[in-house]
Symmetry: C2
Subunit: 367 residues, 2 copies
């Protein structure tokens, strides 16, 4: 199971126990090993620890402690004459208890603001820009899942004349998402009729979600506008099918190159399954959709084997939902090697999710 930093307070008692009865020196060593491995990507030996992280004990002592840590499952050895690297369990403990608090530098915050602010007027651009800046700052692959239209409330619906045998149906959701769809019609409709219908539909549908748009509500509308019944039926049909497929267009991935720059993925065969996963929008969508249920605030970390998907067993995923006025509408995530800089990335993801929420709430809210 994935435990987020935000949930450190309600950490499982098992984990807490581990944290408490581990000697401070052991913790320091585990922290040192993890920090070092995160920054160098090389297995770290006892002498390195003794020299670089002045713990006041000799390498032999550290060696003994490391042997213990390995036995307890926090460290592992790629081969017998190499240094140690953290295991997934080791990373988990590091994330939950050892990791240094990290705040974004002014430069980083500035970059985020700059990139996002200038695009905040159009939601697609904003989402794209977010993915880009997240990839750049994390040095890993980044994912942003845009607001979906299915569960969102309808804020506005409008029928626009398009050509003699088609009209454009425009739906604006409360997340500021604008979806549109072109609809063929059998006989021309005059603009005034369309206008009237728009008004009517607005009246009936505002505040409802698109997926609620069936059953009684729909029948009511049909009976109200029965002159157009057959047209409306067709419209709803098409609209619903469009919505079903529009989910695939919600996923934005960036920073694939950054991922390939990580030494663990320098052989392409290691990287391939992950990239394949990231290229498949619907897999990404289903994998991350779980995180939305945790509610806003704080990033969630899934380390290596904690991932259910086979392809991600060598990766860590750090994700956080974002929302509008407290309601979750999407997720942002970073995918990197398990050696990812947790401290930085968590701060980054949490901050960007938050500022995205702010931005959306500020610019998209109905007054």
């Amino acid at each position: 199971m994935a435990l987020g930093r935000a949930e450190a307070g309600k950490i499982e008692s098992g984990v807490r126990a581990m944290a408490e009865n581990m000697a401070d020196r052991k913790k320091a060593i585990l922290r040192a090993v993890t920090d070092d491995y995160i920054s160098t990507a090389e297995p770290v030996g006892s002498r390195t620890i003794a020299r670089k992280y002045g713990l006041g004990v000799s390498s032999a002592t550290i060696r003994n402690e490391m042997a213990d840590l390995e036995e307890e499952g926090y460290l592992e050895q790629p081969h017998v004459s190499a240094g140690r690297i953290p295991s997934d369990k080791g990373y988990r403990f590091y994330v939950d208890s050892l990791m240094p608090e990290r705040n974004l530098t002014g430069l980083e915050e500035k970059k985020i603001r700059a990139e996002c602010a200038k695009r905040s007027d159009e939601i697609q651009s904003l989402i794209r820009a977010t993915a880009k800046v997240l990839g750049e700052l994390s040095n890993c692959a980044s994912i942003v899942i845009g607001p979906g239209v299915k569960t969102a409330e309808i804020r506005h619906i409008q029928l626009v004349p398009f050509s003699s045998d088609s009209i454009l149906v425009l739906v604006v959701t409360n997340a500021g998402l604008v979806e549109h769809k072109i609809l063929s019609i059998e006989h021309e409709m005059n603009p005034v009729d369309l206008e009237n219908m728009s008004r009517m539909l607005n009246h009936r549908l505002r505040g409802r979600s698109l997926s609620q748009m069936r059953g009684k509500v729909l029948r009511d509308i049909l009976s109200d506008l029965d002159a157009y019944a057959s047209f409306l039926e067709q419209m709803f049909e098409l609209l619903l099918s469009a919505i079903r497929s529009s989910d695939e267009n919600r996923v934005y991935v960036d920073g694939l190159m950054k991922l390939l720059g990580q030494p663990e993925f320098s052989e392409i065969e290691r990287a391939r399954p992950i990239l394949e996963f990231l290229e498949s929008d619907d897999l990404v969508l289903t994998e991350l959709s779980g995180s939305a249920s945790r509610g806003l605030g704080g990033a969630q970390v899934t380390i290596g084997s904690e991932n259910t998907r086979e392809e991600l067993r060598e990766c860590s995923v750090i994700c956080a939902p974002y929302g509008i006025r407290g309601q979750v509408v999407g997720t942002i995530a970073v995918v990197g090697p398990t050696r990812i800089d947790y401290s930085l990335t968590i701060a980054l993801v949490a901050h960007i999710a938050e500022s995205l929420s702010d931005l959306l709430t500020r610019t998209q809210s109905i007054k």
Copy 2:
């Protein structure tokens, strides 16, 4: 310079001369070498040619011919004891004169139709689906540049009430592209006013391009609607700036994984510059924008060193513009190793460009 197959008729006289005075057997050998290398990615030796492609002569003869071809610059040798591979010049000659005619199989055509047809109601989806199917069938990276909004004609413009201090401006272009932008306003505007303004704007702007939307036309509108002058000025300002930035969102890339699967890019360091290029939307856009000027019909091939961009010197690019009612609105392209299957890819690109044009013209045209 890149010469397309469609232009085979008006091929440069220099090239034509080459084609004519090259002995048939030499051509056959060059063709065999190229075909073989395209399918195996291994340098091909004289014995292989003699055995696999029954030319009725011994390997020694072929060896002599190959030495000539190398001297003339059509073949090259990775090292002295390896077989030959085609040079860029060799590929060029192959593409212009030797390549077998290739038609898509029923299966391929079916796949294209299936993938495109089910998305044809919404232009963004259609573009995405096109990029995907192109990547899949070509086994290379694919690029689709969507219709831009800058030069397109306005078909419809509509102001939609959005919130108390903002409205939504909706612009539909003749390419079926729907752009929208949310605009803050100072004081609330009543729906009837908006409707009137929409009508007015439509009347004035329909048929013009957005980039024409300045100067006299604009002044005329302002004087007609001078009660809203300050609002309109602000609106045009924002609209134009939005348009400027929306070009970046036109580029869709897919099939990166396929590219990495090609043996020439199995070392990541070879692939990196190309992937970096493909990740940068604006570079891709400027690089491919030239091809739009060649008019519809037929794919254009740029081989290795013919590419101006350094990153693409190891690649071939096959691209074709697509359009609506004969007018170019975008480009599709495939990027692969110079060893790319020209015959297949050219057929593929040409066919998809054509069917995209058809689809757009059919579904998006004003009657």
